[in-house]
């Protein structure tokens, strides 16, 4: 059976776009370059080609439109009627007719202008002829613009129509609005129809498919029908009427016995009677829906009477089809889509009735004889009266029963969660089903990181063995290490030696430091000479300390230094105190006093020491060494002002940075340097 599919119709462009497409195609696909120097035949040919090409394109496109749109008389009357209801047959035909005339007009224009072009004598004339031709064609298209727009809208709507096969097994659901047709549809098929509490939720036909006895049935949900005279019906209702009228289907008339749809049973019964003419030759089932709100037995007497009337009508249809013994349950059924009580029963009943009817019809028609010849169901001939049912081993039966029980008994994780306080309170133990060697280990927490290592990198089934090996190795290695260490110890310095070394190094660095200071100051800064000794560094105490730190006995040296360094005053005083009897100083005293006496007798007191005289002392062995030292000293020292006293000759800068030299702009010239 042909599946009516209006999705394959090509898009109808609107007027402007149509013109643009065709003209741009002409421009692209035909040669564009022409000069007035060409031969006249060539010019004519050029422009004729353009005109013809444009005409051909228009013709093609318009033809496709006309061919693809279905002719309402040629298709199944159901679709024809449906399209008429939706789009108005006349309007539709008119639009297509306009397209047709446009096509013819364009052909005529092209023919005329080609004839004229044959006699064009200049480039300009040919060109203007071509322009005129194309212009006229475009005007034609512009005029049919509204038709094109209308056809495009129709095309879009047709593409969305449900693909209903009018010849296959179909079930039609009809009734007042809001009685539960769409809910029923959702229950038995996979169609997802909008179910809302307001009336006319379903505004067009919807198709779903369901299976029964290995056959596929179409289920069509219709918009609700109100009880009105035929002429007053709107498009939506007309859709369902059309479906009822043309489709050979089982009809399920839905009745809302609770009245929650807003219409009483009386109104629904009235509707039933007004459209019962449409139920001719169709298996009819009256379905009482919403029994959860109002059971069938609980309705009032009048309502019951009305329902019974409807039932008798339905029975009539049953009887009319075939004189088979009818079962009354197959005609009036109750169900509730909310509790899903009786839904399957209704579906089965409807499918059964429809199937029977179709089989009946097929049996009566002539074609069946051809088919029947080909059917032959082979049954083994019964040998005796013994019954031989199918043999199912006991184990399989038990397993099946157990599986069923287990499926019911098993608790889902979600139920567990709900019991224990919901999502925020209960967290499922993900480790419940772990397969471990010992079940006690399921809740163990194992650290992933230890001391900067990843624990998982170390896991090894024979880690203990390897560890033992390693420790053995380590023991051996450590023993070797100890052997090596002994060699080293001999070379070390003892503690005292280390102290001595430290002292040596300190002294050395001190010497170096002093030398560096001397070196740097030798040229530049005047130094106080040793004899003035403002810091009092050169004392015998100090010398004594230094000598004793070197390990010598300083007492002799100190006494000698003291005796030598004493001035005349001291000598004199010592002279006076001769009586004290100092043995140590005796020799020196005698010598000193002798000299003095000598001198004092021969010369005046005011004479100072002779210039060349050098007194041994100051750490030097004898006069010779001292003379040498003096010479060295004089050599190493430059004749600079070493008395550390400033004289008139020493240049003095009273102010180092006088303001007048370091600030101010110059009246003339640059100040790049100051």
């Amino acid at each position: 059976m042909v599946q009516y599919n209006f999705k394959k119709i090509t898009v109808v462009p609107n007027g402007k776009d149509f013109i643009d497409i065709i003209l741009s195609r002409t421009q692209r696909q035909t040669p564009t370059v022409v000069h007035k120097g060409y031969a006249i035949s060539r010019l004519r040919q050029f422009y004729m080609r353009k005109v013809k090409y444009t005409q051909q394109n228009f013709h093609e496109k318009l033809s496709t439109i006309i061919d693809e749109f279905p002719r309402l008389d040629d298709i199944h009357p159901f679709y024809g009627d449906l399209l008429h209801v939706l789009y108005n047959k006349d309007h539709y035909k008119l639009a297509l007719g306009q397209i047709n005339t446009a096509r013819n007009l364009i052909s005529k224009i092209a023919k005329d202008y080609v004839k004229l072009l044959k006699y064009g004598d200049s480039l300009y004339r040919c060109k203007s002829l071509k322009v005129a031709a194309l212009g006229r064609m475009c005007t034609v298209i512009k005029r049919i613009g509204p038709s094109l727009a209308y056809l495009e809208q129709i095309r879009q709507h047709m593409a969305r129509l449900p693909s209903i096969d009018p010849n296959t097994r179909t079930m039609l659901i009809c009734g007042y609005p809001n009685v539960g047709k769409s809910s029923f549809m959702n229950k038995i098929t996979r169609a997802d129809v909008d179910v809302q509490p307001y009336a006319f939720t379903t505004k067009s036909l919807f198709v779903g498919h369901t299976d029964y006895k290995y056959l596929r049935y179409q289920v069509i949900d219709t918009p609700g029908i109100l009880d009105r005279p035929f002429e007053d019906r709107n498009i939506i209702e007309m859709c369902s009427i059309t479906a009822l009228a043309h489709l050979r289907a089982a009809v399920l008339f839905f009745l809302d016995i609770s009245g929650s749809c807003g219409y009483s049973i009386a109104q629904q019964a009235a509707l039933f009677h007004s459209i019962k003419s449409l139920f001719m030759n169709k298996p009819l089932i009256i379905v009482c829906n919403k029994t959860d709100l109002q059971p069938l037995d609980g309705i009032s007497e009048e309502d019951r009477k009305l329902v019974m009337e409807m039932k008798t009508e339905a029975m009539k249809t049953v009887i009319g089809q075939g004189g088979e013994p009818t079962n009354e349950e197959g005609v009036l059924l109750t169900m509730s889509t909310l509790t899903e009580d009786g839904v399957i029963a209704v579906k089965n009943a409807a499918c059964e009735r429809l199937l029977n009817q179709r089989v009946e019809l097929k049996m009566k028609s002539k074609k069946i004889n051809d088919c029947l010849n080909r059917f032959h169901v082979a049954l083994p001939k019964a040998r005796d009266q013994k019954e031989r049912p199918a043999c199912i081993p006991q184990a399989v039966l038990e397993a099946k029963a157990k599986q069923a029980a287990e499926k019911e008994k098993r608790k889902t994780e979600k139920e567990l969660e709900d019991e224990n306080g919901g999502a925020g309170v209960y967290s499922a133990s993900l480790r419940k089903n772990y397969i471990l060697a010992n079940d006690e280990w399921k809740e163990d927490t194992m650290p992933e990181i230890l001391d900067g290592h990843n624990v998982y990198d170390f896991i090894d089934p024979d880690i203990l063995l390897r560890l033992e090996e390693l420790e053995r190795e380590e023991g051996l290695r450590q023993a070797e290490e100890e052997g090596d260490d002994f060699e080293m110890d001999g070379q070390e310095l003892s503690l005292e030696e280390q102290e001595a070394l430290a002292e040596i190094r300190k002294k050395k660095s001190l010497l170096i430091q002093q030398h560096r200071m001397k070196k740097s100051t030798a040229e530049s800064r005047p130094v106080v000479p040793r004899k003035f000794d403002t810091d009092r560094k050169f004392t015998t105490r100090r010398m004594g300390r230094q000598l004793s730190s070197l390990g010598l006995d300083p007492s002799l040296a100190i006494s000698r230094a003291r005796s030598k360094s004493r001035g005349r005053k001291r000598e004199r005083s010592v002279d006076k105190r001769e009586g004290d009897g100092r043995d140590a100083m005796d020799i020196d005293d005698n010598q000193a006093s002798k000299k003095l006496r000598l001198r004092s007798t021969s010369r005046s007191r005011s004479l100072s020491r002779p210039p060349g005289e050098v007194i041994p002392g100051e750490g030097l062995k004898d006069s010779a060494q001292k003379i040498k030292a003096i010479k060295l000293a004089k050599k190493s020292v430059l004749k600079r002002n070493k008395n550390a006293r400033r004289g008139e000759a020493d240049r003095v800068i009273p102010t180092l940075k006088p303001k007048h030299l370091f600030s101010g702009k110059r009246s003339i010239g640059k100040t790049q340097r100051r």
Partner: protein
């Protein structure tokens, strides 16, 4: 959760630290801190940058080959959990760590040994040559050991003796 090694300096990158860079050829570089990251962006070779582990290993400053390194190996297939194994592993990690660090420090010690020996010899020579700066030859003749001389107390006594006549 895994501890990664910084690509530049080879220190461990703990979770929540550092940056991971994924290159267009899908190679992943982990960095422990912005110092390493910036060095990488400057295209420096860690084998030439003194403070990195790569340099140290390459130039023999740190231990390179050892059996303790074979214990730690990235395993791609997880083992089924076994409590005993886990306990043993944790204990083993500690021991292996200790052994490894011991060996590493021994390696460094050995490396520095020649320098140490040389310095000791130099010190001894310096001591011998320079002992005259802290010990007078006389004291050295008396006590030939190379250590600081004993300080005699005579200094203070001599001083008191001398002072008295001056004061008077």
């Amino acid at each position: 959760m895994r501890l990664e090694k910084c690509w530049f300096c080879s220190s461990t990158v703990y979770p929540g630290h550092g940056i991971q860079f994924v290159r267009n050829d899908a190679k992943i570089f982990h960095f422990c801190r912005s110092k390493c990251h910036k060095n990488f962006k400057m295209k420096r070779n860690p084998r030439k940058v003194k403070w990195t582990k790569a340099y140290r290993r390459l130039h023999g400053k740190d231990m390179t080959q050892d059996s303790t390194f074979e214990f730690e190996r990235k395993r791609n297939r997880p083992e089924r959990y076994d409590r005993n194994l886990a306990e043993n592993t944790l204990k083993a990690i500690k021991k292996i760590d200790k052994i490894r660090s011991d060996r590493a420090s021994d390696h460094i010690k050995n490396r520095l040994k020649t320098g140490k020996v040389q310095r000791q010899k130099e010190a001894r020579k310096q001591l011998e040559l320079g002992i005259h700066l802290v010990k007078a030859p006389l004291a050295l003749a008396q006590d030939s050991s190379l250590c600081l001389p004993k300080i005699k107390d005579n200094v203070s006594q001599a001083q008191t003796e001398e002072n008295q006549p001056m004061e008077e």
